[in-house]
């Protein structure tokens, strides 16, 4: 089954930076230390405007991400999506994800790894 046309949608407004996606992915794809299939990058905290701080975690899939094709073939969700503590990750066809992103309206990112 080809996963072309599928992607990951991440609502980073509510990503707590818990690293579960990283470890879940390493388990699934058997990725060694020092390498990642998805890695959480952090911006902040620093003062943005007035009292507000910029503080966002954004998990970025790498070229080791194959969108969990084996799990998908078994009808499961990708491992990162399944375990995400904030339930902010979504997997699906690009057009569906784009619709969801538009509904969310802000602080959301789509990856087509």
């Amino acid at each position: 089954m080809s996963l072309k046309g599928y992607g990951l949608l991440i609502d980073y407004e509510f990503c707590s930076g818990c690293h579960s996606c990283e470890v879940a992915c390493k388990n699934e794809r058997n990725i060694p230390l020092g390498k990642w299939g998805i890695k959480v990058e952090t911006i902040g905290p620093w003062k943005a405007e007035g009292d507000r701080y910029e503080f966002n975690h954004i998990p970025c899939p790498t070229s080791l991400c194959n969108l969990c094709e084996e799990r998908i073939a078994k009808g499961k969700k990708p491992s990162c999506v399944h375990h995400c503590l904030c339930q902010v990750m979504d997997y699906g066809p690009i057009d569906e994800l784009a619709k969801k992103a538009a509904e969310k309206g802000s602080k959301v990112v789509m990856f087509l790894p």
């Binding site: 818990c18 879940a24 388990n27 902040g44 620093w46 009292d51 701080y53 503080f55 503590l85 339930q87």
Partner: protein
């Protein structure tokens, strides 16, 4: 949920379980599926049918396989000659038969020759040790000395004790719709408009069994946050109000909120009249804390304090999650008293969407089964003349009435002086008190316990404390290796309970309960009618004092039990032992003015005390040590001193980090990533600078729980346990009048570049 706990899938045997201990963390009981092939754990996956966690797992459980099969794990009993303490090369594998024979012989010998009180149990936190340390100490061994070596028992002890004193109930947890299978969608369940996160990091800590990410669940549905925290953690960055207070000033802040809510008449008159005691006196007291004064003390602008207090009080539903920073302060009882008063006068206690009280749990390790409050019940199970011999029994009567654990700061002094008797034997149960987890001035504890004749340690891995002090090591199983029981809040507010189901065997590991039963069956058979964990669970789970009786086997199949738990239990007589409406306090009401505090010589009303060495209280010390030191915030990848050898986790946080503001870094001429020492009149610690705007200038946060499993194990190095040990700088016995609290969150230090 599926009504079975074991099935076949894809050539694996799948064992469903509720994750808890070992490794540690609190009894969160996250739903997990263990995939086993040929008796070996192959992989784990979150259980999507678990009503609370819904398939989610944190990195620690995701790394379970690495933990279970780590080459450093110790899976057979070992012994070492006491003269070789600290020498890693002298351990020698033994059989369980030899281990038991020695243990029985030693306990009998010390008991007969010097009395059972010369044996002392040390418990760690967050593991199943917390459920069975009382059973092991008081009933199996028969000693009255069970010790949590935490200065001022400053982890949950003060909060729970104050709940017992003034609320007469167990810890009130925020309502995250945990009573219902359909959770947040349950008809009529009110989403809290505000959740106050006060000195707590629930996402990283899942403290006491609160599933921390439920806060995020509620934020996504529209709940707003009020954060009271010196650091800009992720939740604070998303809070509507972030009150970034000076560390250690929480009591002033809470009194300031009370001042606003009472002066502006934002409290619930009906509730106050019907269910509280001493409102007039509290109203008088809070006049001493006008908001401008509180703003001066806490460094938070007055308008912000007012706005947050108003938002909390006016919300139709709101709750307060208050954390361990309320304990790690000599002002601890007053902080919790004031916070409980805030919940009470705004009618949040046991209200939907507020702070919910637990129903009677089947098992309450520090109180009576079937009651949620923490009252010392040991006098009932052990001969009073022996109970009276526990260390510090005659000190601090207020403490003694509540706590089973001996008071640690007094205990340390008695051990050092070998008074009123010399301690002979120590039992270190899943504890690593030399690492900066809990004990203040850990070197003093090291020297004191070194004087014991014989020490046993039980754990999954060797830790610096057991390496330094023990003569025998007993291997504990992970939760994949045992049958047990996960109950959130250790029963003090059991949001749910579930079974821990054995999936694999690893070496010769056993559970904490098996150890207690084995010793109990041998030495006190009259107290131990159960010879297997399952028989013990059946006896507890069938406790007539609880509504939802079940056998262990049924619980295994059921998976998770959401106990019957109505709101407003105090109205229907479900809180007090005698079945009358009200709370289990002397007046039957929530005591804003505490008769028990008064009885024990403490001020019956909350008040603020300035941190002892702050620039306000002690300008001389503060000029030498100008930076405020706070410590104790958790990360996602370790449980206090645990998990340091798990490489997948260590890679996320490889070093002990010292957070400081860019201005502070500039002032001290240090840059991000530099190794520095922080130091004060008691000691020093080496940590690595992390420059961040997420902390105020003039305040530094040091990580706790650091040791280095990759370094030299033997003494004196002991895996580098002294090197980055932040607790070197925290003095013992700097606590409140009642024996609670400690200055972990508001010490003073200076800082310089490390050249070694």
């Amino acid at each position: 949920m599926r009504q079975e706990w074991k099935w076949e899938e894809d050539g694996y045997e799948v064992i469903r379980s509720c994750a808890w201990s070992a490794p540690g963390d609190h009894p969160v009981g996250c739903g997990i599926k263990l995939y086993v092939k040929d008796g070996k754990l192959e992989k784990v996956e979150g259980d999507e049918e678990h009503p609370i966690t819904q398939g989610r797992l944190c990195p620690r459980c995701l790394a379970l396989k690495e933990y279970v099969y780590h080459p450093d794990r110790i899976i057979y009993p070992m012994k070492r000659d006491p003269k070789d303490r600290g020498n890693n090369d002298k351990w020698e594998r033994i059989t369980w038969d030899e281990a038991w024979e020695t243990i029985f012989e030693k306990i009998r010998y010390f008991t007969d020759k010097y009395g059972p009180e010369t044996i002392m149990e040390f418990t760690g936190t967050g593991r199943l040790a917390c459920m069975y340390n009382n059973l092991l100490a008081y009933e199996a061994i028969g000693t009255p000395n069970c010790c949590y070596a935490y200065s001022g028992v400053s982890c949950w002890g003060p909060r729970n004790s104050v709940c017992a004193y003034v609320l007469g109930a167990g810890y009130p947890e925020i309502d995250y719709a945990f009573k219902y299978e359909d959770r947040y969608d349950h008809p009529g369940w009110p989403l809290p408009e505000y959740v106050v996160i006060w000195g707590k990091a629930p996402l990283e800590s899942n403290a006491d069994g609160l599933f921390g990410h439920s806060v995020v669940d509620m934020m996504k549905r529209g709940t707003k946050l009020i954060s009271v925290d010196p650091r800009v953690n992720w939740l604070a960055s998303r809070a509507e109000f972030h009150l970034q207070l000076r560390p250690g000033t929480d009591a002033a802040m809470a009194l300031g909120w009370l001042n606003v809510i009472i002066e502006e008449d934002l409290y619930d008159h009906e509730f106050v009249d019907a269910w509280t005691y001493g409102f007039e006196q509290l109203a008088e007291r809070v006049k001493e804390y006008p908001v401008e004064k509180v703003a001066d003390i806490t460094w938070v602008p007055a308008e912000k304090i007012r706005a947050a207090a108003r938002a909390f009080a006016k919300a139709p539903a709101a709750s307060i999650a208050w954390g361990v920073s309320a304990d790690q302060n000599p002002n601890a009882p007053q902080i919790s008293h004031a916070i409980l008063a805030l919940m009470a006068i705004t009618n949040r206690i046991d209200a939907p969407g507020g702070n919910v009280l637990g129903g009677p749990p089947p098992l309450n390790p520090t109180g009576r089964d079937g009651e949620t409050a923490m009252f010392s019940q040991v006098g009932e199970v052990m001969p009073p003349e022996i109970w009276q011999k526990r260390l510090a029994a005659n000190d601090l009567p207020g403490y003694q009435e509540i706590q089973n654990y001996i008071q640690p700061d007094y205990t340390l002094e008695y051990l050092e002086r070998e008074e009123p008797y010399k301690m002979r034997m120590g039992w270190i149960q899943s504890s690593n008190f030399l690492s900066p987890t809990c004990s203040a001035q850990p070197e003093r504890w090291h020297d004191a316990v070194m004087k014991f004749d014989f020490n046993v340690g039980t754990d999954t891995f060797m830790n610096p404390t057991i390496q330094a002090l023990a003569d025998m090591f007993l291997p504990i199983g992970t939760f994949a290796e045992i049958n047990d029981f996960a109950i959130t809040h250790y029963g003090m507010c059991a949001t749910f309970y579930g079974s821990i189901n054995k999936a694999i065997d690893v070496g010769e590991t056993v559970s904490d309960l098996e150890i207690a039963l084995k010793i109990g069956n041998e030495l006190h058979p009259e107290l131990f009618p159960w010879d297997t964990p399952e028989a013990y669970f059946d006896a507890k789970l069938k406790n007539p004092a609880v509504k939802d009786q079940i056998t262990f086997a049924d619980l295994q199949n059921k998976g998770v039990l959401l106990p019957t738990n109505e709101y407003y239990k105090y109205k229907s007589g479900q809180i007090r032992g005698d079945g009358k409406p009200g709370f289990n306090t002397p007046t039957g009401r929530i005591e804003l003015y505490s008769l028990l505090f008064q009885k024990f010589g403490e001020d019956p009303l909350p008040y603020y005390i300035e941190p002892e060495y702050s620039a306000v209280a002690n300008p001389e010390i503060a000029s030498k040590y100008p930076l405020i030191l706070t410590t104790g915030a958790r990360t996602f990848v370790s449980f206090h001193s645990e998990h340091r050898q798990i490489k997948t986790l260590r890679e996320v946080v490889p070093d002990p980090l010292l957070e400081m503001h860019p201005d502070t870094a500039k002032e001290y001429g240090v840059t991000d990533g530099a190794w520095v020492y922080i130091e004060n009149q008691w000691g020093k610690a080496k940590q690595r600078v992390k420059v961040t705007e997420g902390i105020m200038p003039g305040v530094v946060h040091a990580m706790h729980g650091w040791w280095f499993p990759e370094e030299e194990p033997s003494a004196p190095h002991l895996y580098g346990v002294w090197k980055s040990n932040v607790n070197n700088m925290i003095p013992s016995k700097h606590m409140g009048k009642l024996g609670f609290g400690s200055p972990f969150r508001s010490a003073q230090v200076t800082l310089y570049l490390a050249t070694d």
